[in-house]
């Protein structure tokens, strides 16, 4: 079985974002990293390879040349090779554009399983996997916390959904999006990092894949959410109850 695992280079959202005078995001001092959700996807692919279920794992990213760094981070966890679809200004692409590019990659690579993260931690769309499934005509199992391929060419996927969990069975090839309880991603080992440097990493372009995209969603600026102020500390449960009843009036 061949697995395609996607990775996105995201902005590190731990720091507080700053805005420019024209309401754009000031990214000058923000670091980039591998999207955390994609670490779970890559880990799952690597585990399936270690179990002998997957024969090849390809790491794919749509992004600028600098994204090779995040791809090497993923390749240090495992996998055989990388495929970067070079787009300098990924910020101008919407989810459907990304999904169209990835659909062309799926057509070219013909994986049996595509594993994406369920969400990017910076732009938080939670759409690309589902769109890719439609564009490729493949079944989808999103928000996966459990993935078990069977011998008959299907996989059973446990999904985290509102109200509990749900199991679905999808016929391979299929599209999976990873949630955070799917596994625990490994830290890349030193030998892993050394090996990753030598793994083949092919660079292509949307044009070479035969896709031209025109994003439908256009960003028109950002704003900061209203700040919450720190309140007070109370000294005892009795004081807390008094405040809740008589000041905030949220409890009777």
């Amino acid at each position: 079985m061949k697995i395609l695992a996607t990775v996105k280079r995201v902005f590190d959202t731990d720091g507080k974002p700053k805005l420019t005078a024209d309401a754009k995001l000031d990214v000058s001092s923000i670091d980039c990293k591998l999207n955390p959700f994609d670490e779970y996807g890559v880990e799952e692919a690597v585990r399936l390879q270690e179990k002998g279920i997957a024969t090849e794992v390809v790491i794919c990213c749509v992004g600028p040349e600098e994204a090779q760094k995040e791809m090497r981070t993923a390749l240090a966890m495992g996998g055989d090779r990388g495929l970067l679809v070079k787009v300098n200004d990924t910020e101008s692409l919407d989810t459907l554009s990304i999904a169209k590019i990835l659909a062309a990659v799926v057509k070219k690579e013909k994986p049996d399983l595509v594993i994406l993260g369920k969400l990017s931690t910076d732009s938080e769309n939670n759409q690309v996997g589902q769109m890719l499934a439609e564009l490729t005509g493949l079944p989808q199992a999103t928000f996966a916390f459990k993935l078990t391929p069977d011998a008959g060419g299907w996989a059973i996927v446990g999904r985290e959904v509102d109200g509990g969990t749900s199991d679905v069975k999808v016929k391979l090839p299929a599209i999976i999006t990873a949630d955070l309880r799917l596994n625990e991603p490994r830290y890349a080992s030193l030998p892993g990092i050394m090996k990753a440097k030598k793994k083949p990493l092919e660079i292509t372009t949307p044009e070479a894949l035969g896709v031209s995209v025109k994003p439908a969603i256009v960003g028109i600026g950002y704003e900061l959410p209203p700040a919450r102020k720190a309140g007070i500390k109370v000294a005892s449960v009795a004081e807390l109850v008094d405040k809740l009843r008589n000041e905030a009036k949220v409890i009777s």
Binding site: E124, N126, E134, V161, D162, G163, L180, R181, G219, A230
Partner: protein, 319 residues
């Protein structure tokens, strides 16, 4: 035509409350675009859901009743939603930002070649076009976006729109689409967390616990407090990962987004991913033994105390 299609969410013959703020969103969008609000029910033996939806503030209801919608599958929903959007001239297709809406709507959007907005918290007019606001960066940034496609798909954050007032019953139209059931996917099971408490997303009070509670057993004291004040119980990701609480209780970037009147954060440190899910609460109360925990920076009332002592004391005081 520029109608607004709202895809209803339902469970066991009842409309899910998550649908109502989505209709609230549709009303605001309608003020900008005109057209009708059309509610869509995909289900099996779902006439009761359609009847409920008819009085929930929509102008028109479409019921597509077929065995292929008996168990929810994105592969069955997406073509139906896209087809109805087309024949009914929708310019906006909206669904709740629930795990169901997030699952099928991007798939339907791709089928309609539509741009999609996730988790809309506001809809407004920008240079004559419909524009949306949505939180990104774990809630620390709000993005404003517009769409240039003929149809725009939108999932709606439940906490940011009110349910419209109930109205006179809208007409119900039954349509059959004749799609075949998908043959490359099967629904197997839904393991539901049974609870008599209100749902997190519309609870007026929430008592949430974190890793500091150290066991599932310790969550019992939160449940007792929640039951006393008619609230729901929530958890941090660390508490869920540790097996102290079911996944359905998780609040935050990867869990539920909540905005109750009062939120008790018990033994939760206040990581940005947790705050992303509960910052919209009206009053936040923190109980943590570490007075420096970041959660105090957004709390209205903080009590620096051992939860094992303070929570039972609080419950007793409120009895």
């Amino acid at each position: 035509m520029s109608n607004i299609l709202v895809v209803a969410e339902h469970l066991e013959g009842k409309l899910r409350k998550a649908t109502l703020p989505t209709i609230g969103f549709a009303k605001k969008a309608q003020a900008l675009t005109g057209g009708k609000i059309i509610g869509l029910v995909l289900g099996h033996n779902a006439a009761s859901v359609a009847a409920e939806l008819a009085t929930a503030g929509v102008d028109h209801v479409i019921l597509v009743d077929s065995a292929i919608y008996a168990d929810y599958l994105a592969e069955a929903y997406a073509p139906a939603v896209a087809e109805i959007a087309k024949v009914k001239g929708a310019s906006i297709v909206a669904a709740p930002a629930s795990t169901t809406g997030k699952d099928f709507l991007p798939r339907a959007a791709a089928r309609m070649d539509a741009g999609m907005i996730s988790d809309a918290i506001e809809v407004f007019s920008h240079n004559g076009a419909v524009a949306y606001k949505r939180p990104v960066w774990a809630g620390n940034l709000i993005a404003r976006e517009t769409s240039t496609s003929a149809i725009t798909a939108v999932t709606v954050r439940m906490t940011n729109f009110d349910a419209p007032a109930a109205g006179a019953a809208a007409p119900i139209e039954t349509i059959s689409l004749g799609f075949a059931a998908p043959d490359d996917t099967q629904f197997l099971s839904f393991d539901r967390v049974k609870s008599s408490r209100p749902e997190l997303t519309d609870a007026a009070a929430i008592v949430a616990g974190g890793r500091g509670l150290k066991s599932a057993e310790a969550f019992k004291m939160l449940e007792e407090l929640a039951d006393l004040i008619g609230g729901a119980v929530g958890a941090s990701r660390a508490a869920v990962d540790s097996g102290y609480a079911p996944n359905d209780w998780q609040i935050g970037q990867t869990g539920k987004i909540v905005a109750p009147g009062i939120y008790f954060a018990v033994a939760i440190s206040g990581a940005i991913q947790h705050l992303a899910g509960m910052k919209g609460s009206k009053v936040i109360v923190t109980i943590n033994k570490d007075g420096e925990a970041p959660i105090y920076q957004i709390s209205d009332y903080g009590l620096v105390a051992d939860a094992f002592k303070a929570v039972p004391e609080l419950t007793a005081a409120l009895k």
